[in-house]
């Protein structure tokens, strides 16, 4: 009788032990998950700061595009005028701002086409295709290794 009781208790003990082990494992896992998540959040935060800066810069690039197009259309007779020089200086300010932010223009014309930073919009058909950039449709920019905007190009 007593033996039976002991056996029952032993079995129960085994079960409880297994349960405790299972819970402990779950607990450890949760704690580890939490700590890993903390680290991830830290990384995410860093990349978000970078990311949001580059998003802001991306929006500004449209203004620089327009300014550049504007400068391309300066009438010949006005080129020497002081106010034109002023506008050119505004462009320099803009470019300096980008430089201080670590933003660099992606090289295009004459370069070998690079799918990592160039996007081919068109291809000039020729027998002697060299896969190099013939002209730039839209300038591209990068911040360190991070491409903010790929350069849109025509290749030949």
């Amino acid at each position: 009788m007593q033996e039976k009781e002991t056996k029952k208790l032993k079995k129960k003990l085994e079960e409880e032990r297994a349960k405790a082990q299972k819970y402990l494992k779950g607990w450890q896992r949760t704690k580890a998950d939490y700590m890993n998540r903390e680290r991830e959040i830290e990384k995410e935060r860093e990349s978000w700061v970078k990311f949001s800066n580059s998003k802001l810069i991306l929006d500004f690039l449209h203004l620089l595009d327009s300014l550049n197009r504007c400068l391309m259309h300066i009438p010949k007779e006005s080129k020497g005028q002081e106010w034109v020089q002023g506008v050119i200086q505004i462009k320099r300010q803009f470019e300096n701002f980008l430089k201080t932010q670590g933003v660099e223009k992606i090289k295009t014309v004459g370069e070998l086409f690079d799918h990592n930073c160039h996007e081919a919009v068109d291809r000039i058909q020729s027998k002697n295709f060299q896969n190099i950039v013939a002209s730039e449709i839209q300038a591209g920019y990068k911040m360190g290794e991070h491409i903010i905007r790929v350069a849109k190009v025509i290749i030949k």
Partner: protein, 630 residues
């Protein structure tokens, strides 16, 4: 155990997701997501002539440069014996799809820092056995065990939680409009299973068509206005396309926007600018014929399912174009207000696949055992002036523990009452009392000196233990409140609503009490300062301060907030002057004693005043005082 991921292997774009802590999350592409786009990448594969394999965004970018080496939309050829011939080598559609899956596998492994070997992949509901087998093969080639293929509409329904709807069978219509294809599926959901009843669609209808009509219209109106055809100007078209895309997205949330492209082109007369106003009405007018083309597919699917729109219980929208108000209106006009909301229509298929993956991986069971609750309302204690000071904010996942040190509000106060509260109102009276107790035996000392640590500990079952401990004597008291979460849903909602309603009133009242508390503190500090300074201050200054203290005491309990603020400032300024004068005196003294004066003496009187002000406030900052017990 490695994770099972969910993959949306789409015709134009692909994406992957996984489950974490009961929520599905997208897995970002390794090359970084585009700043504007989502987490999906183009389903594009390319081989360059120097032998590189490119997948996704890089492959798309070089497509024009290398058309013979680039493959788009291989999904359309799945299950056929079509062969892609690229640089003298032949590839089957499943091999091309495998490259896309391989990229997803690699990106996921990089993201998790762990091996990924299993996946759930979605397929269109209309895929036949050969197409399904081809998808499975693609997985195998990529080194992924495809634990299950799930129909795309089923996955989307999972993402919207439609499988959680209890009770009777329901009919679900899934409207999936991608960049280039439309799929309409009617399903029956019952006993935990989605069964496809009918499918219909259009393989040449999608968001791209909408972009095109808009761009065409803009180019046409510019031509009409300026007589210049921009459609052959690559540079101008590039800018127009980009601006149009932006305008289209904007018009989903605003009623009007403009396309502003200065110096878009030039002729002999000089530069030309584009400034076109575009309203949502205009956009809708343009895309209406495209939206209308969807009607045929819907009607066909309904007819095949032998259903009327009224018998459809839920409509699920998938794909970017379904974000447009006109598309939503179109659906609502047919089915009424039955559209499921709350999930990004561009991510819901991948997310649903991830949910399915988690269920198959057994993670769902684990979640049930470890289901963690949250506290629906804020828990805190009453502090000086009847203010509710929160310790555990609402929506905190439990179990949770939080402690904070408080102090006494009167000199020689030997006991504090801890009044535990629950609710969102800033005043104690507006909240629910959970319990109260008294901690006594605090050694008599000046106000603000004793350190009473109050600890709130709420366990996984919502049982709250509130404890208070005097750090000096180690004496402690606590109570256990079993029904801290015993409020019904209605009661909780009511309390939240009341808190919103009374927010401004409570704020005013709290501000009044805050300033009163500050006044009490200031009076105490000033009286002490005068006493301590003794004859170091001039009698007239002393008199001035004493008068100001008296005045403050008189108006302290009144209701005029502004007058109290002003009187407070007056006394503060006066006492600061005294402080500054005392330092001046000390400086003169030290100068006569020391040859080299210490740094701070270099500062001018204004700075001196500023630094004094800070000093004067220091003891008050960050201190919370308990309601004094008589």
């Amino acid at each position: 155990m490695s994770k099972i991921i969910g993959i949306d292997l789409g015709t134009s774009n692909s994406a992957a997701a996984y489950m974490e802590a009961g929520k599905s999350k997208m897995i970002p592409s390794a090359e970084g997501t585009t700043v504007v786009g989502g987490k999906a990448f183009p389903s594009c594969v390319a081989f360059t002539n120097d032998g590189q394999l490119l997948v996704g965004e890089p492959a798309r970018r070089q497509a024009v440069a290398n058309p013979e080496g680039t493959v788009f939309s291989a999904k359309r050829k799945m299950g056929t014996d079509h062969k892609y011939k690229i640089f003298d080598k032949e590839y089957t559609p499943q091999q091309i799809s495998a490259f896309i899956l391989q990229k997803i596998k690699k990106d996921s492994e990089l993201y998790f820092g762990d091996k990924v070997e299993k996946a759930v992949i979605t397929v269109p509901a209309y895929f036949n056995d050969a197409q399904r087998q081809a998808t499975k093969d693609a997985g195998a080639i990529a080194g992924l065990e495809v634990v299950r293929l799930v129909n795309e509409p089923t996955a989307a329904s999972f993402a919207y939680g439609l499988d959680k709807t209890k009770g009777k069978d329901q009919q679900v219509l899934v409207f999936d409009m991608g960049a280039g294809t439309l799929d309409v599926t009617v399903m029956n959901f019952g006993e935990g299973v989605f069964e496809v009843i009918s499918t219909s669609g259009d393989t040449k209808l999608g968001g791209t068509d909408m972009d095109e009509v808009l761009v065409d219209d803009i180019v046409a109106s510019f031509k009409k206005e300026q007589g210049i055809d921009l459609s052959t100007d690559k540079m101008a078209m590039q800018r127009i396309r980009e601006a149009t895309e932006k305008a289209k997205i904007e018009l989903s949330s605003t009623l009007g926007t403009e396309i502003n492209l200065p110096f878009v082109t030039a002729d002999k007369q000089g530069p030309k600018h584009m400034l076109i106003k575009i309203t949502r009405t205009k956009l809708e007018e343009l895309v209406k014929p495209i939206v209308e083309r969807c009607r045929k597919s819907i009607e066909q699917a309904m007819k095949d399912a032998k259903l009327e729109p009224s018998s459809v219980e839920k409509v699920v929208l998938v794909g970017g174009p379904t974000r447009m108000p006109i598309v939503q209106k179109f659906i609502e006009n047919i089915f009424g207000d039955k559209v499921a909301r709350g999930v990004d229509p561009m991510e819901c298929v991948a997310m649903g696949a991830a949910i399915q993956a988690a269920i198959l991986g057994g993670e769902e069971e684990v979640k049930d055992v470890l289901l963690l609750d949250i506290t629906p309302l804020t828990l805190g204690i009453e502090t000086l002036g009847g203010v509710m000071t929160p310790l555990i904010e609402r929506n905190t996942t439990i179990p949770a523990e939080k402690s904070q040190v408080f102090s006494t509000a009167a000199n020689n106060q030997t006991s504090v009452e801890i009044h535990a509260l629950q609710g969102e109102r800033s005043m104690a009276t507006g909240n629910r009392t959970l319990g109260r107790f008294i901690l006594d035996g605090i050694p008599p000392s000046p106000r603000g000196v004793p350190q009473i640590e109050v600890k709130f500990d709420i366990d996984a079952n919502g049982i709250l233990t509130v404890g208070a401990k005097d750090k000096a004597t180690g004496k402690e008291q606590h109570i256990t409140i079993k029904d801290s979460s015993a409020l019904s849903k209605e009661e909780i909602e009511k309390m939240k609503k009341e808190a919103e309603k009374f927010a401004s009133e409570d704020r005013k009242q709290k501000e009044m009490i805050d300033i009163r508390n500050k006044t009490d503190n200031l009076i105490y500090t000033c009286e002490k300062a005068i006493k301590d300074a003794g004859d170091k201050i001039k009698p007239e200054s002393k008199k001035d301060i004493e008068e100001k203290i008296e005045e403050l005491k008189k108006i302290k309990d009144g209701k005029d907030l502004e007058a109290l603020k002003k009187a407070n400032q007056g006394l503060e300024d006066a006492i600061q002057k005294i402080g500054a004068a005392m330092y001046e005196g000390a400086k003169a003294k030290s100068e006569s004693n020391q040859s080299t004066p210490p740094e701070p003496n270099e500062s001018d009187s204004k700075n001196e005043k500023d630094s004094k002000k800070k000093d004067g406030q220091e003891p008050i900052e960050g201190e919370f005082e308990e309601e004094p017990k008589k």
